[in-house]
Structures are given as C-alpha cells and as structure tokens.
C-alpha cells in the first residue's frame, strides 16, 4: 500500500482498483489533476501578483540600465546611470541621510521595544491596558503622527522645548526647523511609532523562554541583571535577529514619514534615498535613472540582510 502512504494527499484509489499493481497511468493523471486544481486556487491571486508585483520588480532591474524619460523611448545605456549617480550630489546627500536615519532608528527602536516588552511581561492587573497603549502609535495614521509631532517639536512654543527649558536648557534645538536637528526629530518620531510593533514580537519571544531557566538561575544566586544578561537575552536571540533584519529593511526604505513630516527639508537635510527615487522617477519622469537608484537601495538592503544572516549563523555555531 506504499502508493497511498507516500502520497498523503492523493485521492484514495477507487475500490475496484485496490490492490492492483500497475498504477503509473493513474498517478500521472493524479499529478495532472492536482496541478490543475492547485493552480486554480492560486491563479486569482497570482494574476494580480504577477502583473502588479513580479513584472514591476523585473522591470526595475532592466530599467536601471536604460535611459528613458516620460517622453521618448527607452534606450540601453549600460552603466551610465550608475556613473551619473556617483557624481550626483543629491544622491550622496540622500545616501548619507538614509544611513544616518538607519543608524538612529535601528538601535533606538530595538532598545525601546525590548525595554517595553520586559516591563510589560508581567502577570499583573492592568498590564493589558499598558500593552494596548504602547501599541497604539503603530496603528495611528501617519499624517496624524507627523502633524502632532511637528507641533510637539515646535521650536519656540512646542511642549518638547518647553520641557527642555524647564530642565534648564538655555538653547533647545530647533528640531524640524533646523537642518541639524530635523533628522533626529524624524528618528524620535519613528521610534515612538514603531516600538509597539516590535514590542509585540519581543513579548511573544519572552513567552518562549522556559520559566525553569529563571528558577535555575535564581537557585544559582543570579541577580536580576545577571538573569537578564544570561537568560533573557540569549533566549531572545532568534527574535532579536528577526527584529534587526526587519528594522534594517524598514529603515532603508523610509519614505512616507519623511514625505509627510519634513518633505526632505529643511534644505536637503532629511532627503532620503526612497524619496529621491520618488522625485526622480515619478515627479521628474526620469524612469531609468530612478530605477538605478532603486537598484542601489535594493542591494544595500540585500547586503545588510545577508550579512546579518551570516553573523547569526556564526553565532549559533
């Protein structure tokens, strides 16, 4: 009866056929039938997915090597777009700003999310309310988030600077009105917005660490800090790895918050790569050049992610 057990989802043979040895023809018919049925399930989604995701993704790779403006026809130019990119100051500024943003957003969100998760990982009354509160910013619409924080960061009258002044700071930063402080303001806003999301992942991760580990550590006389360092952190490694990868991808493609909050300004101080792609490609209609920048963005994300996977593998070993 091996044919039945090795093929778990093959339909059961008709009673008349049972026990008869040659089943080749029946099997290939079975496979054909399964293929047809399988595709019929996948097709409604696949048509949309292929047309509006697969095709554009492929096109982005090809367009990067072409010169094509909104009027005129595409022309193969090899690496010209990339050459031009390295002489383009907007690109250099955007690349630097994106790295700046990622450098702030990744570690700060990680620490904030982990802290929230550990504080809220308790079985006490009312904890659910606090978890909900911490998650709230993540589901709040971006425009609302941006406009509220823009007001909070108002250099003269905003609550943030009023608070800093009561702490005794004589010249609080100009935040979104200053070229030096606009990016930190965006980073703070995005950390506030995203930490609840990663907190959920960390909370789920904390559930997977067996209580016995903590008890064993306590028996060995480990204090709270040692328990955190030697039990909690190693136990959270898979989650942390996932969070870092997600945060990296998210940071490098940052776009909507910047568009709504500062629109790249003041000056070019918060111009990021994804925004440059939008400006060049959709506003200016330079399809080829913008796709080349997009390709660079994609490869940066890819390289960082692969690097993190490697690092994770080595740590595990």
């Amino acid at each position: 009866m091996s044919h039945v057990t090795t093929q778990p989802d093959a339909t059961r043979p008709a009673p008349a056929e049972r026990g008869r040895p040659p089943r080749r023809k029946g099997r290939s018919r079975q496979i054909r039938r399964n293929t047809l049925v399988g595709w019929s399930f996948i097709l409604p989604n696949f048509i949309g997915f292929a047309l509006f995701t697969l095709v554009p993704v492929t096109a982005a790779f090809v367009l990067a090597f072409m010169e094509w403006n909104s009027f005129g026809s595409p022309e193969w130019v090899g690496l010209d777009n990339f050459q031009r990119m390295f002489g383009d100051e907007n690109f250099r500024v955007a690349l630097f700003n994106t790295l700046f943003y990622a450098g702030g957003h990744i570690p700060l969100t990680l620490v904030a999310a982990l802290t929230l998760a550990i504080v809220l990982n308790r079985k006490i009354r009312g904890v659910q309310f606090f978890r909900t509160a911490a998650f709230f910013p993540y589901i709040t619409s971006l425009v609302a988030v941006a406009v509220v924080w823009n007001m909070l960061f108002n250099p003269t009258m905003g609550p943030v600077n009023q608070f800093l002044e009561t702490l005794g700071m004589a010249n609080p930063p100009g935040w979104t009105a200053s070229t030096d402080w606009a990016m930190p303001a965006v980073i703070i806003t995005s950390v506030w917005r995203d930490m609840g999301y990663y907190m959920v992942l960390y909370l789920a991760g904390l559930q997977t660490i067996p209580e016995e580990y903590y008890e064993a550590a306590r028996v060995d006389g480990a204090n709270a800090w040692q328990r955190f360092w030697h039990v909690t952190l190693p136990g959270l490694r898979p989650v942390t790895f996932f969070v870092v990868v997600m945060l990296t991808i998210q940071s490098f493609k940052i776009l909507d918050l910047i568009v709504v909050m500062t629109d790249g300004g003041p000056g070019r101080s918060t111009l990021v790569l994804a925004q440059l792609i939008y400006r060049e490609g959709i506003r200016e209609g330079r399809f080829g050049y913008s796709s080349a920048i997009a390709l660079v963005l994609f490869f940066i994300v890819l390289i960082v992610t692969v690097f993190q996977f490697r690092l994770n593998e080595r740590r595990k070993a």
Partner: protein
C-alpha cells in the same frame, strides 16, 4: 513560593515565633514595593507613549489661539466641541471618509479572498513547481516596494489608470503578504483532516469552503484587520496616484488641509482625531487578532 529554609512552617500571619513572622512581613513588604515600582515604571512609560495623543485630543478641543501656550495647558478651560462640527464645513470630510472606507473595504475583501484561496493551493494541494512558485512570492516580500514603485507607476500610466481607484485597488489587493500569512496558518491544520474529507468525497473547493475557511477564522480576522488598517493609513499610494480632490482619502485630505491652513492648529488636530478614530475603534474590537497576526508572521517568518 519556596519557604525560607529555616522556617518550619510556611508561616501563618499570626505565627507566634518572632523570626518567621518578620521574615514574611519583610518579604511581603518587598513584594509590595516591587509591585508599586512596576506600576510606577509602567505608568511613566505609558505617559511617555500617550503624551502625543493627549496633546492631539486636548488641542482639538481648544480655541486656535489656546493651542500653544506657556506653560502648556493640558486640559482646556472650555471644551470647544464645536470644532468637531465646524470641520465638516471646512473640508469635504464625508467624501474623504467615504473614499477611505471604500478603498479599505474593497482591498481587504479581495486580499482575504484571493489570499486564503491561494494559500490553500500552496499548503494542501501537492503539485510540481508549487514550492518554487511560493519562493517567488516570498522573495518579493523582501524587495522594498520603494524599489519598484516607478515601474508600477509607468504601467498604471500606460493603462490610463492613474487618478482612479483602480490603480490603488489593483496594486494593493493581491499582495504576497496575505498569501504568506494564511499559508502559515493552514500549515498548522493537520493534513489528515483534509485527507479524511477527501475520502468522504468532498472536492477540494468544498474542503476549502466548508473546512478550511471556518477553521481559519482567527487568521482571516488577523489578515482582514491588518489589511484594513494598512489601507486606511496608507499615504504614499493615494499620494502618488490620486490627484483629483473628489478621490482623496482621509490621509490626503488632512495633509492638504495642513498645507493650506498651517496655522489653524486646533482644526488640524480635530481632523487628526477624526482620521484616527475609526482605526482606534476597529483596533480595540479586534485587538486579539491584530496582535496574533503580527506575532505569527513575525516569529515564523
């Protein structure tokens, strides 16, 4: 609750011996202190998280010249509920809300339907090439949308679909994410169940309809909620594609209002509150599914 090694009985409160009683009291005190401390820390964290919301709500109930004051007035002298009446005259809020709702509902419906349907094919029907195809789905999740938004735009322009709802619906309803989330869930439903249904003579379509769909209600709810909130909050899609005012979503309408009346702080905050309100209600109703959806796609991804 391990007893102190030298305490003979896990002391009752009225224990006559001196040492265990004080030890118990000390421990109880310590626990009380720790509990209080936890609440203090949690409240401080919650305040920090919620301050922007407090600002938003309080400003939305103020007169415009009361928004920025020194020192900050967290509770307005007089609640100006009229802001919430006036805003409907200032901007076509009804149109914006209707557009947002239409897009969010349509896209959520299509995403849940096609996503769960495809997920059944990917998890319960075995055929050659299936796994390779699934890898293609997963691979595109890793490509940032920002990297292919320009080719998408060119396609939509060529098809003459820019500045229509079609562009947003077509681009967002067939995402790989829905397939991925539903497949994760279907994988956890044992194959034997499906097998038994096959033996009973059910076709694959009725197995999907009568067994898988009812069993996967929590996952469907997660996907529906996540998609709805994402679409409602989406800014870039409508920003790129919808240029006519009558097609704008709440997000675009609010943004344009901010651009035009940048000093109308109270009214802007009123608009912000209205734009967030539907999501808050939906989130509070379906919180459980929401969180679970994030936790499963997160940890098993």
């Amino acid at each position: 609750m391990t007893a102190m090694p030298d305490a003979p009985s896990p002391a009752s409160p009225a224990a006559p011996e001196n040492t265990p009683a004080t030890a118990v009291r000390a421990r109880r005190n310590r626990r009380l202190v720790r509990k209080t401390l936890t609440y203090v820390v949690m409240t401080a964290a919650a305040l920090l998280v919620l301050v922007p919301f407090a600002w938003m709500i309080s400003s939305s109930l103020k007169r415009n010249n009361e928004v920025f004051t020194v020192p900050i007035q967290w509770i307005p002298d007089e609640f100006r509920w009229s802001n919430f009446v006036d805003i409907w005259d200032r901007i076509p809020m009804v149109t914006y809300l209707r557009n947002s709702a239409f897009l969010a509902i349509t896209i959520t419906f299509l995403q849940v339907l096609t996503g769960s349907f495809a997920a059944y094919g990917f998890s319960k029907v075995r055929f050659p090439g299936r796994d390779a195809l699934f890898v293609a789905y997963i691979a595109t999740i890793a490509v940032p949308w920002q990297a292919y938004m320009v080719p998408q735009y060119i396609m939509m322009q060529e098809a003459g679909l820019t500045n229509t709802f079609w562009s947003i619906i077509l681009l967002q309803a067939f995402g790989a994410f829905g397939v991925f989330l539903m497949r994760q869930y279907y994988m956890s439903i044992p194959d034997e169940l499906v097998e038994a249904a096959r033996i009973d003579g059910l076709s694959e379509y009725s197995i999907y309809l009568r067994i898988m769909l009812p069993l996967s209600k929590p996952a469907l709810a997660s996907l529906a909620l996540l998609t709805f909130v994402n679409t409602w909050n989406d800014y870039m899609g409508p920003f790129i594609y919808l240029t006519s005012n009558e097609l704008w979503t709440v997000q675009l309408g609010l943004r344009s209002f901010i651009g035009q009346y940048s000093a109308d702080y109270a009214m802007i905050m009123t608009g912000a509150v209205i734009s967030v309100l539907p999501i808050v209600v939906i989130f509070l109703l379906g919180q459980r599914y929401f969180i679970r959806g994030i936790a499963t796609t997160g940890l098993k991804g």
